[in-house]
């Protein structure tokens, strides 16, 4: 199954995903720039993505825990979700998301 991810530079990537994987894990494992500080524990909100409007309703709703974390996301929008809380399944094949600015890792000159 596939996830279509638009990165911080506006480029679209088609990523192969396995059932049960968190969307954050798919994005991270394919090497896209996603901070995901807490590794999927719903504790940092740095895996923040904007879900394409066609897909927003097709996702399972956010838990209270996820909503609490979304409170701490400065660039939150109505279609914001934490990608570590979205698990891939056949229903979500073709899911489209865009990486939010707040999920970007710091750039530090080496």
């Amino acid at each position: 199954m596939r996830v279509l991810v638009t990165d911080h530079d506006g480029n679209e990537h088609e990523l192969e995903a396995l059932e049960g994987w968190r969307v954050m894990e798919v994005i991270r494992d394919w090497g896209l720039d996603i901070k995901a500080e807490c590794g999927g524990a719903c504790a940092c909100a740095t895996c923040h993505v904007f879900v394409n409007e066609n897909w927003v309703e097709r996702l399972e709703g956010a838990t209270a825990e996820e909503e609490d974390m979304l409170d701490t996301v400065p660039d939150v929008q109505l279609n914001s979700r934490l990608s570590c809380q979205i698990l891939m399944s056949d229903d979500l094949d073709g899911l489209q998301v865009t990486l939010a600015p707040s999920s970007r890792s710091e750039e530090v000159a080496a």
């Binding site: 807490c38 409170d71 660039d75 939150v76 600015p101 710091e106 080496a110």
Partner: protein
Amino acid sequence: MSGNEIHTDVVIIGAGPVGLFAVFELGLLDVKCHLIDILDRAGGQCAELYPEKPIYDIPGFPIVSGQELTDNLMKQIAPFEAEFHFSRMIETLEKLEDGTFKLLSDDGDVFFAKVVVVAAGGGSFQPKRPPVPSIEEYEGKSVFYSVRRMEEFRDQDLVIVGGGDSALDWTLNLAPLAKSVTLVHRRDEFRAAPASVNEMRKLVAEGKVDLKIGQIGGLEGADGQLSAVVLKTADGEVNVPATRMLPFFGLTMKLGPVADWGLELNDNLISVDTEKFATSVPGVFAIGDINHYPGKLKLILSGFHEAALMAQAAKKIISPDERVIFQYTTSSTKLKKKLGVV
């Protein structure tokens, strides 16, 4: 500003689980440590990001919470009486002519150490900055991410943003002092302690606090002095006159000054060897999530292992003439005495 001068064997930058365990390994070798952390308590990511969440991969603990692990480590290192410097960050690291190090913290303290251990995890926890254009111009002058002195908010028109304990606590603490308090949150549900939320609602009902559901759209002001906060709400744009703003969006890790100390970095991580976990600067070691080497896994248990090997190498630098015999804590009376169990 304190301006204290501290002389010690080892300065450990970061008091998360790996920095804490380094105290143990170094302590067994009679090495004294001072630890610095930007948080106001020990535990690093474990205490800040997942104190109540279960960890399943700590050897010997089928399940342990972030806070429990921190508490256990603090107990384990207690015999070695390490000294902690919280709510501070090391800004500069300088190697002196005699091979030792001088470190300057952001509150004016100076540390002199023979060895430096960077156990900075993902970087120092710093407040998340709202993505509002030109907010940097107001930071430190009329936009603040923490309250150092409540008096600075007396008679001010204050906007507080957030839905957690920080936002609610400061709403309640500053309402009696400020000229006006507007609490802004993106939804009408708060994750703060229910008692605080109830008290806030009471103040709103009494007209002492104004609650606005929305998000910051922009700031108005000049020369760093705020005059209004523009909010985006369901009813459109709302202009709130304000002279001070406190955004509470939680913390995020930033590499910060570590990047400026001349250490060889690999993708924002400090390159080390796998024998001693030494960095490119002799006398400076890096352990835990902050380091990088072929095959590195960002696991707490990896950091523990790295601390053990680092301690052996650090000891050789600190006491080059001392003959150190490898001993086990279970069988060595000397070690058991150090741990206070004999």
